[in-house]
Subunit: 317 residues, 2 copies
């Protein structure tokens, strides 16, 4: 009989197909497992698949007394209480880098679309305003990419791929990261210095408790009135109210956002703005990155049930 | 007294400021010069500034008996009857390469936005469909950029800049161009072979009578059902009816278009499609490329009035 896996978060069915071919799936689909399945069934569960952003603390772990592995589908694991998992001897795995190219592509797309005001431009054509020659202040020429200073906050695998893409647009690239790397980009020792230097700030840092609201009103003001913020990391990194205020009063020029503070909610004050480009957290959402993420999940599960260490274990667990 | 210049096409006032500082401008703003100005005033006009896409034939040239220079604001000059100009001894200038980076940026933006379906995604967030978890077939994961074959039709200055940008997205790049260059991209001897090979076709060829409708139903079919067409050249290069048909019946997956057959008109059948990204011919429309184009116009005018050859003369004139 195949091993049983509890699906903890809510996933589209298409993303679970390959897991279902190998394992017997109990799909809690984001609901409390004890409400969905009888206790004796949960007692046999040794591994779960979850989304990194879904909160999962010690209390939830204790619903599954045999739990030995928490496997995150994707790169992130910020919802997992790692200390609680460690205390219970539960291994935590994820899919490092599997979606890095797709996420970096979205970052570049949002950067270009915010700089060139794509939503306004697309609507200008579709609405008939173009053929009617309706004046639109939003369509006036703006500074483009060439010669722009692009600052990357966080130079992990995704940040590095964003830097490579940004450089192809004849820009200068700088970064702030906890670690200084041997890379051909300007290094800044803190976020303030990076924001003073750049006009486009791309947030690619791994989110955690220490990054909550770190891109605040002060950082935004430092970008200047041509400033553009791109966020493909987590909504928590940005003070969303400060961002809406900065966009509304033109402290900065625009934003491209794939992530939000309380997903899938995007504040009305944000969605009403013309100078933003918004995508529903689909950075890693390509066929090839789903296949790569599933490869990591399956490799982690196979190793776990074979009594081996997880090949894609969360660092420090 | 400053020399007089006739502004032949319609330009936004902001684009004429630097010319007005040096010359006395007679702004016909796209209307027939003889309707706007008395014949004796036109008789003294030795140079005009026009947009390359505006038709300008021998009959129009003959309204200006002293005309010696036609200066196109921008790279294109396809509206100018070069033979008629040559016959009358009129020099034709343009702004080669001045907007190449900005146009290549728009090409990359349209490519990414079409591949990742940005207009649908942005609308999914803004409309509240995301928070309402409304199912959207258009939001299912699609093939992204990594490993894609990107074909560039036309490898002039803009095409080369597009190739460099596309390569940064971990793609394979190929091209068809009249000339084979020493570049690290696959060369194809004709458009059919390029279309058979690639799934993203970016049109960057200089438009002319020999390229009219050359991207036709057959070429589109060769791209396959994951195919994406990006056009930043001229609308005339694409058989627009065939493109609308291919997008409607899913012969190809999507398109990103900055140019259209009859600008500023974009067919309703096109603007109604969800799988397209449309911009109102703003490829070269950045502050830095306008400054660079104006630099070329001013350098051409200065040389002409000094009796010297145009520094940015249209090749072969």
């Amino acid at each position: 009989m195949p091993d049983k896996i509890l699906i903890y978060s809510r996933f589209p069915k298409a993303e679970l197909v390959r897991f279902g071919e190998r394992y017997m799936l109990l799909n809690a689909a984001g609901k409390r497992p004890t409400e969905m399945f009888p206790a004796d069934e949960l007692a046999g569960i040794r591994a779960i698949i979850t989304a990194g952003g879904t909160p999962l603390g010690g209390e939830a772990m204790d619903m599954l007394p045999s739990l030995g592995a928490i496997i995150c589908y994707g790169t992130g694991y910020e919802g997992i209480d790692l200390a609680a998992a460690a205390k219970r001897g539960i291994a935590v795995g994820h899919s490092p880098g599997a979606n890095a190219s797709s996420v970096a592509d979205i970052a570049a797309m949002l950067m270009l679309a915010a700089v060139r005001r794509l939503p306004v431009a697309d609507n200008y054509v579709r609405s008939g305003d173009w053929v009617g020659r309706v004046p639109s202040p939003m369509m006036r020429p703006q500074a483009g990419m060439r010669g722009r200073k692009v600052g990357i906050f966080g130079l992990g695998e995704i940040g590095r791929k964003i830097a490579a893409r940004a450089a192809a647009f004849e820009t200068e690239v700088g970064y702030f990261s906890r670690t200084r790397y041997d890379v051909p980009y300007h290094y800044f020792p803190n976020l303030e210095a990076l924001a003073d230097w750049c006009s486009i700030l791309v947030i690619a840092v791994r989110a955690g408790t220490e990054t909550v609201g770190i891109v605040n009103a002060d950082i935004l003001r430092r970008l200047g009135n041509g400033g553009i913020v791109v966020n493909i990391s987590r909504g928590s990194v940005v003070d969303e109210a400060a961002l809406v205020a900065a966009l509304t009063d033109h402290t900065i020029a625009g934003a491209g956002l794939d992530v939000f503070a309380r997903e899938p909610h995007a504040p009305d004050a944000l969605t009403a703005l013309p100078n933003v480009v918004l995508t529903p957290h689909l950075g890693g959402h390509t066929l090839e990155s789903h296949v790569a993420m599933q490869d990591c999940v399956l490799a982690n599960l196979e190793a776990f049930f074979a009594g081996k260490p997880l090949p894609y274990r969360v660092k420090g667990t």
